[in-house]
């Protein structure tokens, strides 16, 4: 059993121009993306990898390239001869968007709706997911500085609500075995997703989509859940999203797109969000679903989403025949996983994740303040309660809402979380140095390595890149060349080291193509 799998996270950030309520958010987002991209090597986005037609083509490419000659940097593979399945494209046929950049760390930075969005590179484990998620925050900080250099102040917030009705997402993605029936996934993930905000919620001042009632709740996103299952992401938001665009061999994989999570400033909730979700997915993939999980089936999951967020310890969820609380549900999932690990063993990272999950659930059950340095909503509530006590403030006092917003302010000098960090009150799982390096460096063990390194090594020659392709414009070639990256596990550092020893991109292409 393992927490490891291909995963990634996308964050839509909030943004304002202080003093200008009429500032156009699309224009500001564009400035942010372009301002950052102007100062770093980057490539345009390959939109062709996005449409269903291309998915179908990816399928054929995957089949064609199914022989072990995929990336010839691997010495075992070159021995077999044969080439990588490259396809040619007419010059001028690639149309990059105006604000869309593939970065050297393998991430995508772009404008989505009216927000700047950072989509992390694919990683293989929860710890790396935290590193490359936080790298996105640093990218945004530098983007703010770049825009400030042009004389305009734009401030970026890592949260999910404005308190006036708008919500913008933080989406996780997990690669899941296609063989698992989707209804099984939905069935077993629903009680888990409804209750996981007690562990990984970021906390929020205000109840209701427009914060129409004063109060505090554990989740940023819960009040925007309106449906149990569906395709939508911008309205009528479901607990289980059915988008199915794997960016990988669709015969083998689906991509589970999770839209209900909060943007986190703490490491522990971010880490546990990935780790525990990955473990529950493992249970479903391996059909290890004892009756106690079956018994968690919820009769009113949407109402429970709101209830858990508003009353994390008090809300009773209706399962078949009995009522349980959120911590009981999380404990049940943990127990099933832990029992399996006791029997069959697990790698060190999985053991670490289980111990952390256990410690946090235990702390929440016995003395929530004892885990304030780990559980983001508890830390936020602790400060809010302190302010309320001191100033005798009611929950509708704007100072409390201001603290909630400044929690999400990425600028260290204005950030509440930066103060907590400086005071040693936030447990960090990854170092600032690692996060800093991850602005530019890709993860070594997924195809993001190939994508990012291509952009870093040959910035002028990469015409575009996407999740499952890199398009090269090599001098002397009559057409563009698209290199498919249909397997997220390939294109790793280990497999491509030799490719990146070439000085000229043409040599790299020739080797890849088996010429």
């Amino acid at each position: 059993m393992t927490v490891r799998r291909i995963m990634g996270i996308e964050t839509e950030y909030g943004l304002i121009e202080p003093g200008n309520a009429w500032a156009n958010p699309i224009e500001m987002s564009t400035q942010i993306v372009q301002g950052y991209a102007a100062g770093v090597p980057h490539a345009d986005w390959d939109y062709a990898g996005e449409d269903p037609l291309s998915d179908a083509r990816g399928y054929r490419i995957t089949r064609a390239a199914a022989d072990p000659s995929q990336l010839t940097g691997d010495p075992d593979l070159t021995a077999h001869g044969g080439g990588f399945h490259l396809s040619e494209l007419r010059r001028g046929s690639i149309r990059g968007g105006p604000a869309n950049a593939v970065l050297t760390n393998g991430a995508r930075l772009y404008v989505d709706h009216a927000h700047p969005e950072y989509s992390s590179p694919e990683v293989t484990n929860p710890r790396d997911a935290v590193v490359w998620d936080r790298a996105g925050d640093e990218v945004m900080l530098e983007a703010m500085a770049a825009v400030l250099d042009t004389g305009r102040e734009v401030v970026i917030y890592k949260n999910n609500v404005d308190g006036k009705g708008a919500s913008y997402g933080t989406h996780e993605n997990y690669l899941v075995e296609r063989s698992v029936p989707f209804h099984e996934l939905a069935h077993h993930l629903t009680p888990f997703f409804v209750t996981r905000p007690v562990v990984c919620g970021a906390g929020r001042v205000g109840l209701g989509q427009r914060s129409q009632e004063p109060g505090f709740q554990v989740s940023q996103r819960a009040d925007y859940v309106e449906n149990d299952i569906g395709l939508e992401t911008t309205f009528n938001r479901p607990i289980i999203n059915t988008r199915d665009e794997p960016h990988a061999d669709p015969d083998r994989w689906r991509r589970l797109h999770v839209i209900g999570g909060d943007a986190n400033r703490f490491d522990v909730p971010a880490y546990l969000k990935f780790a525990t979700t990955s473990l529950v997915l493992w249970l479903v993939e391996h059909d290890h679903l004892p009756l106690e999980l079956e018994a968690l089936s919820l009769s009113a999951p949407v109402v429970d989403s709101w209830g858990v967020s508003h009353e994390p310890f008090g809300h009773e969820l209706s399962t078949q025949g009995r009522s349980v609380r959120a911590l009981d549900v999380q404990r049940t999932y943990l127990d099933v996983v832990a029992r399996f690990v006791d029997r069959a063993g697990a790698d060190a990272e999985t053991t670490f994740a289980l111990d952390l999950w256990d410690a946090v659930l235990d702390g929440l059950a016995t003395d929530p303040e004892s885990v304030a340095h780990q559980v983001e909503w508890v830390a936020k509530k602790q400060l809010l309660d302190g302010l309320r006590r001191r100033g005798n403030l009611s929950w509708d006092n704007p100072r409390l809402a201001a603290l909630d917003l400044q929690w999400a302010d990425l600028r260290p000098e204005h950030s509440v979380v930066a103060r907590l960090d400086a005071a040693g009150r936030v447990r960090r799982l990854v170092s600032q140095a690692e996060v800093h390096a991850a602005r530019f460096a890709p993860p070594a063990d997924t195809r993001a390595y190939f994508r990012g390194t291509m952009v870093a090594r040959f910035p002028g020659a990469v015409a575009a890149a996407g999740w499952s392709s890199v398009v090269v414009d090599a001098p002397g070639r009559r057409a563009l060349v698209r290199i498919p990256l249909s397997d997220p596990h390939r294109g790793t550092r280990a497999r491509t080291t030799r490719l990146f020893e070439f000085e000229e991109i043409d040599e790299l292409l020739s080797t890849l193509g088996g010429e």
């Binding site: 304002i16 009216a114 127990d335 063993g345 659930l361 809402a401």
Partner: protein
Amino acid sequence: MSSQEFASSSRREPEPVPDLPVPAPAQEQTRNVDDLLDEIDSILVTNAESFVQGFVQKGGQ
């Protein structure tokens, strides 16, 4: 399974993960909340009401 049982259970040879630091117990936190509140007070915007009102976003995903 209780948390005590879980904590003492013999999972198979868990190797330490060297670069993940061990948790700092809550009592080792360097300053208490009240001390910190003064500092938080000093960075909170002075015009909280207009700041909060002015934080308006367009919807997203």
